[in-house]
């Protein structure tokens, strides 16, 4: 492979990541509907393909064959840019995710920072999508999504700083490399700080809020805002928002498994590789879906209170305790 020009490697990874984002979203839509079905003691999709697995493919074809209508009073440029932007950010964060020991598109030193830098641009996409549609529900939803994202970015970044302090690196592959077996996972309190499980819970809740997943999906509260910032979008415009959302859900869960659950490392020390990464990430995604179909949506004030009054103090406490423990031991 070494003699091939760089551009072929780049193209292979771009194609691979795009395909993965699409297929992952299709699979997650199917999985979401199956989990929802079984929690409500229904069957879920059943008719298209074995166990209905081709259902989301059929949905995708339907979305793609629809016309993209731009509302008459909408901002034509921003309206079109927003779904593309949310998809671009979703694809770009995959660049540094280490799926396996060698399977990472760009193994850069500050991969962790890159994910948060690009994910923060995603909020801008929701904002201009909501504003560009020129619809009151969309604007309300966009402001909600932004205040929520700003509120939860603080505890999330503090938790990540805690993890960086313990690991001493922002390279995701290096973080995974330090968690060789089950006992070395950073979710356990004996690996640097006694508050690590708390840090995991904070990180997980914040990633739920950052990806606008239930019970924090105030941005698309159907009961009051029709469909939130994508009210005016139909066809593939809506489809891109959807793909982007599931891409971000995957990245959030992949990041949680990299930081706390050892990424592609095997808990028992044999055969580390892509499959362990996939198992851990999809288990976390299952938990995300399980949470979605268990709890009702919170109110906006409850959501912001949870962030500023519980998450921020707790994450600061975790940071201080970790710093003290790292200095003492």
């Amino acid at each position: 492979m070494a003699e091939l020009p760089e551009i072929f490697r780049v193209m292979a990874y771009v194609g691979g990541i795009m395909a993965f984002v699409g297929l992952n979203a299709a699979f997650l839509v199917w999985m979401e509907r199956k989990v929802a079905g079984h929690i409500q003691r229904r069957i879920g999709p059943k008719e298209v393909g074995p166990f209905g697995i081709l259902q989301s493919l059929a949905d995708g074809i339907k979305l793609m064959s629809k016309q993209l209508v731009v509302p008459a009073k909408a901002d034509p440029i921003l309206y079109r840019v927003a779904p593309a932007l949310t998809m671009i950010t979703a694809v770009m964060v995959f660049v540094v995710i280490p799926f396996g020991p060698a399977l990472v598109a760009r193994d850069i030193n500050i991969g962790l920072l890159l994910i948060f830098a690009i994910a923060s641009v995603n909020v801008l996409a929701l904002l201009i999508g909501g504003w560009g549609s020129n619809n009151k529900y969309s604007v309300i939803s966009a402001t909600r999504a932004v205040s929520q994202n700003v509120a939860y970015e603080v505890p999330m970044l503090i938790t990540v700083v805690t993890m960086v302090m313990i690991v001493g690196s922002m390279n995701l592959n290096e973080i995974v490399g330090q968690q060789g077996n089950l006992l070395q996972w950073y979710i356990f309190p004996w690996n640097g700080s006694i508050l690590l499980p708390v840090a995991f819970v904070i990180f997980f809740i914040c990633s739920l809020a950052e990806t606008n997943r239930a019970p924090f999906d105030l941005g698309e509260a159907e009961s009051e805002l029709v469909a939130g910032f994508h009210t005016e979008y139909g066809g593939m415009g809506f489809g891109l928002f959807f793909l982007g959302e599931y891409g971000h859900v995957f990245v959030g869960c992949a990041l949680a498994s990299i930081l706390f659950l050892g990424g592609w490392q095997c808990p028992f020390g044999w055969m580390p590789g892509v499959h362990w990464m996939m198992i851990k990430t999809y288990l976390l995604i299952f938990v995300v879906m399980w949470i979605r179909w268990t709890y009702p949506r919170t109110t906006l004030y409850g959501l912001l209170n949870l962030s500023w009054k519980v998450m921020v103090p707790f994450s600061l406490a975790v940071l201080l305790v970790t710093a003290a423990m790292l200095k003492v031991f």
Partner: protein, 177 residues
């Protein structure tokens, strides 16, 4: 493949194309930011411009600075501006009117002065070599620099931020009583 285009398929050739792409992005974003009649579009142009600047930082071998630029300016500052605009003017944004016939001329003069100053400064400074490799540990260098050479400015900046936070808290509390 003609020899004219073959340099494009090396790493350096590609990097050059990407560099000029970012420069184009900066200019385009700046033009949108200054010429848009619509305030939200102007902010989007600003975001585009800042993304271009981040790209140039990355190209010059400082990925940490590039990502911080993206995280803080494109991700936080632009969103704060758009958020403020949305909260402040619910009934649409009015078109800005030109106040004085000489305003454009004055703005041009000020911009020329600023450009000249920056250019003079840039040409006189002896720049250090751009870090050769992307993975050359720019993060450690930044951290060491902040804690040694630039410690006083670092602490002063944090003091300013503290003052800003306390000031906004005082302003917010005043409305409650």
């Amino acid at each position: 493949m003609t020899p004219l285009f073959s340099p494009l398929f090396t790493t350096e050739g590609l990097a050059g194309v990407v560099f000029f792409g970012f420069i184009l992005l900066i200019i385009l974003g700046a033009l949108v930011a200054t010429n848009a009649v619509n305030l939200i579009r102007a902010v989007c142009g600003l975001a585009l411009c800042l993304v271009g600047v981040a790209g140039v930082y990355y190209f010059l071998g400082s990925p940490f600075l590039a990502l911080m630029q993206l995280l803080i300016y494109a991700g936080a500052v632009c969103i704060a501006i758009v958020f403020a605009v949305m909260l402040a003017e619910p009934h649409g944004i009015k078109r800005l009117e030109q106040k004085h016939p000489l305003a454009g001329l004055g703005a041009f003069g000020a911009a020329a002065l600023l450009t000249w100053g920056l250019a003079a400064l840039a040409f006189r400074t002896t720049w250090p070599e751009a870090a050769a490799r992307v993975n050359s540990g720019a993060l450690e260098d930044v951290g060491r620099g902040m804690m040694t050479t630039f410690l006083v400015s670092f602490e002063l900046i944090s003091l300013i931020l503290l003052v800003a936070i306390i000031g906004s808290l005082v302003l917010a509390r005043r409305g409650r009583r």
